[in-house]
Symmetry: C2
Subunit: 680 residues, 2 copies
């Protein structure tokens, strides 16, 4: 024992004594220290790099110096020849022997379960632990006298070298197995799914495989390509959902199916076609082959989910809105949805929750983890349908609110989808009523020098979601619209930007030769209707949970740029909350898909969590109508918004005035909701 | 307790007391008595029929009379209206209440695990326990306020009514689930695979599903369609393997692949096409839809197996003859081999054993169960390759012997495949040397009145396998060929049937206007070579096991009609054995496929057994050549055949004479073996 060397690993702090000559990798493994390796210690993959910490470590009682490790040998030089020099102070732990006491640091990128750090402090980092992992093995050659199939010998090697027992392998692997073994000289890299199933075999050492995380939205399909060895996003792409030609919103697509037998199959074909195009685009962007993508995870609302999987969504078009399945789709061949990535690639789809609350909501919950906190947390995911989740580790409620596509730019006269040229930020000077704005694709404000030149290519074409929220809030702050959303026609005397349209007034945001961008009274109403539906839904969930205060808000949605949460609150899109606890989180559903791609334990986690989520049908609640009417006002007829008022000075409410406006709006609202097949 | 009724079930003998009013089915279930039911006691399926045994049963202490059962009620009358009258004394146990003490007989056809009796006493009957079973359930309708998917409610119903828990269901089921539930008014029949996985859902009650057991031979593909509720074979069909156009025997097919890249894919397409045609033929014959076939089991030699599953068989064409896999193929979608039966049907293929010993041999072992007996058992499966299995419960050996296609009629001047018009039985009068014979498709011997008329349609076209074995043995018994297989030219003086062909002689079996069927010296040699290869292989396995006596022989093969084992032994195709323990078992491989189809426990059984089978490479054994030479003689140069001699008087051996013949044959043999790519 006395001549054994003491090895201390950081950051884990694990330590042990080993005979001189033990490799650092062996020492790490026997202590359960997390060091990655694909090649199994053959100095091929370079994943097991460590750094010697030199010096006197009093707390460990170790004097750690370079001479206590073996010198750089042939293995490391050979590796450097093909891969380039090892980083400063780095060694391949598989090829470095312990000669005396040492302190060894395992850098994050050498850990199997490395953390992928997310930007926001309040959310959990992603621990890398993908379903598919690579293992390099050397397989015994066949012997006529001991007949044993190639598969059996491969499995024996995986058992012997990696302790992977009872593996399954399906026919698709068998079809390529023998050629791979012979081409690789009996050395192959194997992809193993969930530690249970061989899904691919390549000759020789393969160091990279990829996964795809996809959010299938009604309007946009967004996808990330991730390196499954590092967790890194190596390419991102978005694409219009081609189903749009069958109907802009969900209900019009279900109507299409009702009226056109076989329409579901048409839409299924369309979305699958788009997925293949996206996969090809991602692969091209990352410079990889499409067949290097071994797995894909999917989220989407229930109708997108069902259409993707070839399930007729007709039942989701009317009460009682029964899902075909509310289970996660696991281990399905990608070819079953005609997705042509690796021929043996698998699909995972998060579970849907209820008829109107889909896998996208489940994914947003996974991203924002309200189930891990005591703080009363609200997640609002704004799209053509808005999904609302409220709760904490005690209980979670979910609802959907048919806000309509106003926040995505539809139904607004100057609205457009987020694209270069779209206005995304707006400020209005309360004194002059003059606006300034920013468009997507240009860093300058419209009143800054060079703006015109910088936007020649794109033009200023419309206003996207985040811009719409800001302009409505700024119109209110500048006194151009009042609490009830009425454009003040008297201001026409003060500014040419206020213009009469028959009996109502508009605000001109921008004029160019091509077109005039203005906010009409109807535009304001459309936004009021949308935000009132959303707010009323939130209010109902608060009632159900008997809470009056929300402690944390995640505002998600494809607004173009991240929405400015202050403006969302001024508009009354979200309830009052300390602003520092309100985050604009972008595509939370897409993030959830990525988490499910990178960490398989999270799949089980969200599958369990969604079973505890209680679905609330807001439209059938008796108090919904009153909440809706109250929420038509900006920010709200009666809710005081104390946190917001500490940061922003809101115009004084003109109580009692023009209360009829809300009443009219309510009737409009009901008509629209029915027309779109909203729950009744 | 005292007013409870005593119910005794036969044949199980299980008994118990139940409150008056308990249904007979309930009583049976609580005692674990095996009574079938698909509809779960709703008087719909009629599977739970029982018979009251009336009278005094002293040994049970029961006076069993009709008045101790409830009278025939509405349920039974309703059932009879749609299904016809219940058999004499039969009742639906679900709709019959116990009113007093009774003895209830459960007929075999009402048992879930009924026995399918096989004709031969020495083999095990098949206990019906298929992988796929039907369950009828009534599913809760959806409720918007308690959102739960249709799948979840279906699974709850299966759990509640049938205790089927943790079921999986894949996307292919989900795609049809909602329509089936609504069409059936929330009453559906579900097919469950292995108690684990929902594979199909039909509206209402479905009472029948089918399975297909297929033996993919190099020459012929044979299939049985079985009713999975009764185990009955409802249709059988055979088809030429269309791969034949790529080569008659296995090695020529592998050569085709070697010489034509993509040739494996061509052959895979061909065999799969033939399977679809076979499935359609079987369905038509049985009067069912092809999509009512829910499962298919497959056996075949390694090359047929690999080609069927799209695995290039090239490695099986040369040493070390490595299989891609020697595992059973389980739970694979039929669509993965392009087999278009039910879209969610599954495939099971028995495991291959070694490079030359395939799933067909595994199936023959399963059919003949040598592993269950102490008797030293030999299974010989004669095809283009002969497979040999020898052993008992202690140990099993297997080998393949490249006999060539002589026993299938190829390489024989008058040989043909088994088909109407082919001679299958032959007798030769030793005095007159005149033959008589029978042809397939006619019950008369050729010397009986009316034979000519009866065979006008087919003609007498050639000699099939069983006929070839018989004529060779009869030629020997009549003294026309001697122990060494030489046709005795001196007999030409006695009979015009002996004719000179250059330096050798032939025997004319039949002459017609169309053609002359004769056995030439070359034909005799070809059969000698084939049977010597087989016998030498058997001898080697006997050596390995150190046994001199074989106690049981199963002779399998597609000889046309079952081969007469006495003639096989006279010819020396099989070693000596008491004739009453030699059975001609026909297509044992096909029977094994059928057993695997009907009883899932047998699948695990054979998967375990084959792992214990030791493969012997006969061609590389040093003693093979000598055994081969000795086995050229009829029946054998030195083995005494004592059992055979007790039944048949064999001609005296002319020791020492013409021993050179065997030597010449040996050289011929080696040339042929190499030409066909036999193991060397």
């Amino acid at each position: 024992m006395s001549q054994d060397a003491l090895v201390v690993f950081t950051p884990s702090g694990r330590r042990g004594r080993f005979p001189v000559g033990t490799s650092v990798l062996q020492a790490a493994r026997s202590l359960g220290v997390d060091i990655d390796s694909v090649c199994g210690g053959r100095a091929l993959c370079g994943r097991c790099q460590v750094v010697l910490s030199e010096g006197e470590f009093a707390k460990h009682g170790v004097h750690s110096c370079a001479s206590n490790l073996s010198e750089r040998g042939e293995n490391e030089r050979a590796w450097e020849k093909t891969h380039g020099a090892l980083g400063e102070g780095r060694r391949l732990s598989c090829s470095t022997e312990v000669l005396g006491d040492v302190v060894i640091d395992v850098p994050a990128d050498s850990q199997v379960h490395r953390q992928i750090v997310r930007k926001r402090a309040e959310v959990r980092d992603i621990e890398l632990d993908p379903s598919v992992r690579l293992y390099y093995v050397e397989v015994q050659e066949p012997d006529m006298h001991v007949p044993s199939s190639d598969l059996r010998r491969l499995k024996e090697a995986l058992d012997f070298e990696w302790r992977l027992t009872d593996l399954h392998a399906d026919v698709r692997v068998m079809q390529h197995l023998q050629a791979a073994l012979r081409k690789g000289g009996w050395k192959v890299t194997v992809a193993v799914l969930d530690g249970e199933r061989i899904t691919a075999v390549w000759p020789g050492l393969r160091e990279k495989i990829y996964g795809m995380a996809v959010d299938v939205g009604s309007t946009t399909i967004a996808a990330h390509l991730c390196d499954l060895q590092t967790g890194e996003v190596v390419a991102s792409a978005g694409k219009m959902n081609p189903q749009i030609r069958f109907g802009e919103d969900l209900m019009s697509r279900v109507s299409y199916v009702m009226m056109n037998p076989g329409g579901d199959a048409e839409m299924t074909r369309e979305v699958r076609g788009a997925l293949n195009a996206l996969a090809a685009e991602l692969a091209a962007e990352a410079g990889i082959e499409i067949i290097e993508i071994l797995e894909a995870t999917f989220v989407g609302n229930p109708i997108m989910h069902h259409l993707l999987f070839g399930i007729n969504p007709i039942e989701l078009g009317g009460a009682p809105f029964a899902l075909a399945t509310d289970e996660a789709v696991t281990g399905l061949w990608a070819t079953e949805i005609d997705l042509h990535i690796h021929p043996n690639a698998r699909i995972y789809a998060l579970p849907c929750i209820a008829g109107h609350v889909g896998a996208d909501t489940a994914a947003a919950i996974l991203s924002e983890t309200p189930y891990l906190t005591d703080a009363m947390t609200l997640i609002v995911d704004v799209g053509t349908n808005a999904e609302i989740v409220l709760g904490n580790r005690e209980r979670l409620l979910a609802a959907s609110s048919p806000t309509g596509p106003a926040f995505e730019g539809a139904q607004i006269s100057c609205g457009q989808r987020a694209a270069p040229g779209a206005i995304e930020r707006v400020r209005i000077d309360p004194a002059t009523l003059e606006p300034r704005f920013k468009v997507i694709g240009c860093e300058l404000w419209s009143n800054e020098a060079g703006f015109a030149e910088a936007t020649v290519a794109t033009g200023v074409t419309g206003v996207c979601g985040s811009g719409i929220v800001e302009i409505m809030a700024e119109l209110y702050l500048a006194g151009i619209i009042d609490q009830d959303g009425v454009v003040d026609g008297e201001l026409a005397a003060r500014s040419p930007r206020i213009q009469a349209n028959g009996r109502t007034f508009s605000y001109v945001l921008h004029e160019s030769e091509a077109r005039t961008l203005q906010i009409t009274q109807n535009d304001v109403r459309a936004i009021q209707l949308a935000k009132a539906a959303l707010y009323a839904g939130i209010r109902l969930l608060m009632d159900k949970l008997r809470v009056e205060r929300i402690e944390r808000i995640s505002l998600a949605g494809a607004f173009g740029s991240h929405i400015d949460v202050k403006y969302a609150m001024i508009l009354g899109l979200i309830p009052d909350c300390p602003l520092e606890h309100v985050a604009s989180v972008g595509n939370a559903a897409g993030t959830g898909a990525r988490i499910a791609l990178l960490n398989r334990a999270r799949r089980e986690e969200i599958e369990t969590v969604v079973r505890r989520v209680d679905k609330v049908e807001t439209a059938v609640e008796p108090s919904f109508q009153q909440y809706f009417v109250d929420a038509m006002a900006i920010p709200h007829k009666c809710d005081p918004f104390p946190n917001l008022r500490m940061v922003v000075e809101l115009p004084e409410a003109k109580v009692g005035e023009r209360s009829g406006a809300a009443g009219r709006s309510r009737r409009t609202r009901r008509g629209r909701a029915q027309g779109e097949g909203a729950p009744t």
